[in-house]
Each structure stands twice: as C-alpha cells, then as structure tokens.
C-alpha cells in the first residue's frame, strides 16, 4: 500500500546550519503518528517542509505516492494535506463563522469566484454551522475570532484544519499552553474530527502521545532515532537516554 506521507532522506539547512539531517519516514494511511523530541530537534521544521512552507534542501517528500516537495503550500493543500500551527493562526478580524466558511471554500469548489454570493450557498453555510456546533463554538458564531479565549482559538484552529476534508492532517502542538481539562477536551475533539484520517502530530505532553499514537517517531537533532509502536519506543534505550529518561527517572 502507498504510504500517506513518505519522506526519503530529507535534508534542510538554514545557511550553514543543518536542521533536518536525512529523515526517512513512512506514514501509513489512517495512522495516528506522533513526533516527539527535545526542543530544537526540528519537529516544527519538519512540518514546515512537509506542508511546503519552506523548501527542502534535498531529498523527497511524497503525499499518497505523488511528489510534493517542489509545490507551494496551496497546491499541497489541494492534494489533501492540511496543517495547524503551533502559534494560533486564524483570521482575527473575521467572525468565527467566517473563519470556518473560508476554510471550506476551496474544497467545495468555489475557487476565486466573484460572482456567487455566499449567503445563497445553503449547503456551504450549513456545513460551516455544523462545524461550529461540532467545535462547541456555536455561541461565539458572530464575534471576531480574535476575541475568542485561547482554548477556543485552538479549537477553531483545529476546526479550520480539518474543515477542507483533507485526508492527511498535521497538528503542531495542538494542546500547547492548555490546562489539563482543556487538553482533555482538545484531545477528545481531535480524536473525533480526525476519525479515519491520517494524523501526524507534534506533541510535548507524553500522556497525550502514548494515549493517542499508533506510531511514535523520536526526532533528535534533525534525525530519527527510533520510529515504532509506543511500547517499542518506551522500551528503547536510546530514547530513554536522549529524551524520556528524565521524565521517567
């Protein structure tokens, strides 16, 4: 079976500094894959490479078997890959409803239409309202997204990421900065909305990671030191030394 996402010997340098040093990764369709690693390991950079935010220095990235490493972000998104950001990235001055509706537009084929009035698009608007309820943001429908609380903005961010119906979802630290309760809510939401999709997630909260992941990849200094099921990663000596040791000891 073709991997949903595959990376082959991916390198990334900023000037003389090598950030990603030969990463190989295969993510099967439908898999929940978490990437962990110490600060500065290159996790977010890896996301930026896969989603096309930065060009890679060398190597190959494929989405469902098709090369994407030379494509701009919007083209990659159209092929079915969507991502969230570590620092909340929403449309601050647009209403919560508009944020979600914008996230739906391309996948529903509206493209750059300047002739079809949005208020007449019944199915589109109903879908946006459905998402609004699904994210528990119905009472916030018409206020500017910039005025939402932090946790609400994170929920909106996740909602916008999955709205377009992409089959591969990249979430960059979706629970960062949340309280325990908020994290539980967010994880329940993520589980629900990524049902049947391929999920690639960067996460610091080990409880979340070992709860959710089918596969865990440990990234240290731009290299994969191990990739496998949670039990295998937990038992790995190199991981314990490099990363988990401090946590469990």
């Amino acid at each position: 079976m073709t991997a949903a996402v595959s990376l082959r010997d991916v390198h990334k340098s900023f000037g003389a500094t090598q950030i990603i040093r030969g990463v190989n990764l295969e993510i099967a369709p439908g898999e929940r894959h978490c990437i962990i690693g110490p600060n500065g390991a290159g996790k977010t950079t890896l996301f930026n490479l896969i989603s096309g935010r930065f060009p890679i220095t060398s190597g190959e990235i494929a989405l469902n078997g098709a090369r994407i490493d030379q494509l701009p972000p919007h083209r990659i998104n159209r092929l079915g890959l969507s991502r969230s950001f570590q620092i909340t990235s929403i449309f601050h001055r647009l209403s919560v409803f508009e944020n979600l509706r914008c996230a739906l537009l391309w996948s529903r084929g509206y493209r750059y239409s300047f002739w079809s009035p949005l208020w007449r698009q019944k199915a589109l608007n109903e879908h946006a309202d459905f998402l609004l309820h699904d994210l528990n943001l119905a009472t916030r429908r018409d206020i500017p997204a910039g005025l939402l609380s932090y946790a609400e903005q994170r929920a909106l961010e996740i909602g916008m990421t999955i709205a377009g119906g992409a089959s591969v979802i990249l979430l960059d630290e979706p629970t960062a900065g949340m309280s325990n309760t908020e994290t539980d809510h967010a994880m329940a939401l993520i589980r629900r909305v990524t049902q049947g999709k391929t999920l690639l997630m960067v996460e610091h909260d080990m409880k979340v990671v070992f709860d959710l992941a089918d596969t865990i990849t440990v990234l240290v200094y731009g290299q994969v030191i191990v990739s496998g099921p949670p039990a295998e990663v937990r038992a790995n000596r190199a991981v314990q030394e490099a990363y988990l040791g401090a946590l469990e000891g």
């Binding site: 989603s51 935010r53 701009p72 972000p73 919007h74 998104n77 159209r78 969507s82 991502r83 950001f85 990235s89 929403i90 449309f91 601050h92 001055r93 647009l94 508009e98 509706r101 914008c102 996230a103 537009l105 391309w106 996948s107 509206y110 493209r111 750059y112 239409s113 300047f114 002739w115 079809s116 009035p117 949005l118 208020w119 206020i143 005025l147 916008m160 709205a163 377009g164």
Partner: protein, 420 residues
C-alpha cells in the same frame, strides 16, 4: 436589514433631490457650484470605494490607484472623440463601462507585477508604477496630450434616453447612476468567495495558503477589479470636465484616494463614501474661504491616524454596542463638555494658520483678513494673543474633558467586554 435598506433609500433620495434644493427659481437654472461639487463627490466616492477594495478589504497599501482612474479618463476622451467622429456608435450611458475596461486592462498588467509581493514591497512597486505612468503621460503625446492633456466634447448625441448632456444636471444624474451601480457592484463583491478571501489574506495570508488559496491570485483579482471600478470613475471624470490632464493619474490623486478612504474609515464598507463627501466638501467649500485648506485636510488626516485609526465610520460603529445597551444618552453630557474646549482649540489653530497665511501669501496677493465685516490687522498683537490663548487653553481643557469622556466610555463598555 430593513433599516439598512431605509438608510440606502434615504441617501439615494437625498442625492437625487439635492440639486433641486439649490435651484435658482428666478433665473430658471441650477447652481453651477452645487452641481459641480456634487458631481465631483460622485467621482470621488467611486475612487475612494475602489481604493478601499485594496486598503481596507485586502490590506493592500497601493500608491498608484489614480493610475487606473486616470487611464479610464484618458481612454474616455478618446472614446468620446471617436463617438464624435461617428466611428463609435455607442450610447453615452454605457461608455463609462469602456473606461472601466481600460482601467481593468491596465490593472491586469500592473497588477500582475505588483501583486507578486505584499506589504511594503507591494507599496514600493505601486509607487514605481505611479511614477512610471506620470512620466509616460508627459512623454507619449498621442495618447496623453503632454502637459496640456487631451480634450473632448461630451455632446455626442448618442443616448439611450435622448439626452445630449449639454447641462451639468444631466451629467450629474449620469454620474449618480454610475456611482450607485459601481457601489452596488463593489458591495456585491464583498459578499462573494473572492471578497471574503481578500479579507482572509489581509488578516493572515499564510493561513489562506494552507486552505488551498494562492494569496497572490486573490490579490491579483482584487487589484484588477478595483482597477475596473477606478476606470469607471475616471471615465465619468472625462465626461464631466471634457479635459483630462496629468492631474487625473498623478500621485496627488492617489494620495487623495488614500486620504478619503482612511478618514472615512476602511473597516466599514460605506466608510470611504463618508470620507469622499467630507474631503470634497472641504475641497470645494473651504478652499473658497481659505488659502490654507490643504493644511486643514492634512491636520485632520494626522489627527485621525493618531486618535481614530478606524476613521469616521469606525467611530460611529464603536457606539453601536452602547446604543444596543440603551446607554447612548449617558454620552450626551460628556460629548457636550467636549464641544467648548474643542471649538476653542480648533478656532485657535485656524486663527493662527490664517494669520500666518495672510501675513505671507495673503499679503502677496493683496488680500486682507476680514472677520464678521471687520478687517483684522495681522500685524497687531491682539489677534495673535487671542489665537494662541484659545489654542493653549482649549488644548489643556480638552485634555481634561477627554480623560473624563474616556472614563465614562470605559464604564459604559466595561461589562460588555467582560461578556466577550
């Protein structure tokens, strides 16, 4: 929704009726001054609204908007001349659309270049385009007519309604009709996927990218369409004045578009209309009274940027939550308390500016400062002392009143913010 339609109906009614309020019954003619001012307002409304498609709606700070207005004007002169020769048998009423298409065409060419970039780099490119076009207008005489511009005659006797457009009032109604049409068109655009994605890329272009949209295409389409509407405005300008010169596409007019949009408010669709009306009033009215009217426009602009970045319409809209809470009355007294020191400050400032102006330019023109029928000696100490006094006392007093106003405002909006 229904109140909105009532407002629109009222505005249209006023625009239709207002020339007749200044009708000179004794001589059976319209006030030429009013007609030309109202016509100018229509042109500026189109210019400012189309500019706000970029600045307010797409977050694009363009410095070359007059380029598309101007090209619409120049093209219109040539269309009218062709119509006069009989080689363009089109009715006058649809000709502004041709001017709009000229604006669109040029905006597609320049937009392709400029919208590769955003933010500062975009502004730089548009500045270059503006200078390029200004130079071109002086170099290519066949099309632009050099320093003297190109002239035409609007009485082409081709009309859907049998009008000859000899009188200003007919032209005014043509402008009014097109202004309404263009405004409706621009408003419609804000309700479409492109309009919404323009807002989205303004707020966060990167996020738009990761939702399948190429921000560059969004910018390009928005820029081109705004050129279409600016071109329509320019076409009407050519019909009104029957002459188009360098001024119609040079950077001062681009700056004016920015000024009108900003002062009126870029965050509300109708804001630039307010700005266009106000600036045209100042331009036509105050420029008759004072040599220094541009100083007042400039100071108004600076004051708005510092104290009310959301513009006039933004200021009005900020009252909406208070009105909804039924508390608007509680602002009456604080507002009244601002009036006296505010007036003192303004009068003191105007006094100083006028005294200085009459001391220099006025003296050179042999003019004298006359106030309520009394000639004022600009060399005496008294008027200067009064002006400086009013400025200082008004300014200091206004600071206190403004602080008081601010406290009242905060107390009225505090519980609302807690809800949000």
């Amino acid at each position: 929704m229904s109140t909105r339609w009532l407002w629109i109906a009222a505005i249209v009614l006023v625009a239709v009726a207002i020339p007749w309020c200044f009708y000179d019954v004794a001589h059976h003619r319209h006030s030429g001054f009013m007609i030309s001012m109202l016509s100018q307002m229509g042109l500026m409304v189109i210019l400012a609204l189309s500019y706000n498609m970029l600045l307010g709606q797409a977050g694009l700070f363009s410095l070359c908007h007059a380029t598309f207005f101007g090209i619409g004007g120049y093209a219109m002169v040539h269309f009218l001349n062709a119509a006069g020769d009989g080689s363009l048998p089109l009715p006058m009423e649809v000709m502004p659309l041709l001017a709009g298409l000229s604006g669109l065409g040029l905006a597609i060419v320049f937009g392709y270049m400029a919208t590769k970039q955003r933010a500062t780099a975009f502004a730089m490119i548009t500045l270059g385009i503006s200078e390029l076009m200004a130079t071109a207008a002086l170099m290519f005489h066949h099309f632009f007519g050099g320093e003297g511009g190109v002239t035409t005659n609007r009485m082409i006797d081709q009309s859907l309604f049998g009008l000859n457009y000899a009188s200003g009032i007919q032209v005014y109604y043509l402008i009014l009709a097109w202004t309404l049409l263009a405004t409706a068109g621009m408003y419609y655009l804000t309700l479409t996927p492109l309009g919404r994605m323009a807002n989205a890329t303004r707020d966060n272009f990167e996020r738009a990218q990761f939702m399948g949209y190429d921000p560059r295409v969004v910018r390009f389409l928005q820029f081109s369409l705004s050129g279409l509407f600016a071109g329509i405005g320019g076409g009407l300008y050519a019909i009104t004045y029957e002459i188009v010169t360098f001024d119609a596409l040079a950077s001062p007019l681009s700056a004016n578009a920015l000024l009108m949009a900003y002062i009126g408010g870029t965050t509300v669709f109708g804001g630039p209309v307010l700005g266009a009306v106000l600036i045209t009033l100042l331009q036509s009215g105050v420029s008759l009274l004072s040599n220094s009217w541009l100083v007042y426009v400039g100071v108004l602009f600076i004051a708005m940027v510092i104290f009310a970045p959301a513009g006039l319409s933004g200021m009005i809209r900020a009252h909406e939550p208070i009105r909804q809470a039924g508390r608007l009355k509680r602002l009456t007294v604080p507002y009244l308390r601002l009036v006296i020191p505010g007036l003192a400050l303004v009068l003191g400032f105007v006094g100083l500016v006028e005294l200085m102006s009459f001391l220099t330019i006025g003296a050179a023109q042999g003019k004298r400062l006359v106030l309520f029928g009394h000639a004022i000696d600009v060399h005496a100490a008294l008027p200067w002392t009064v002006s400086i006094g009013a400025l200082l006392i008004g300014g200091t007093w206004l600071r206190f009143e403004a602080a008081h106003f601010h406290r009242v405002w905060e107390s009225l909006t505090a519980d609302r913010r807690e809800q949000a």
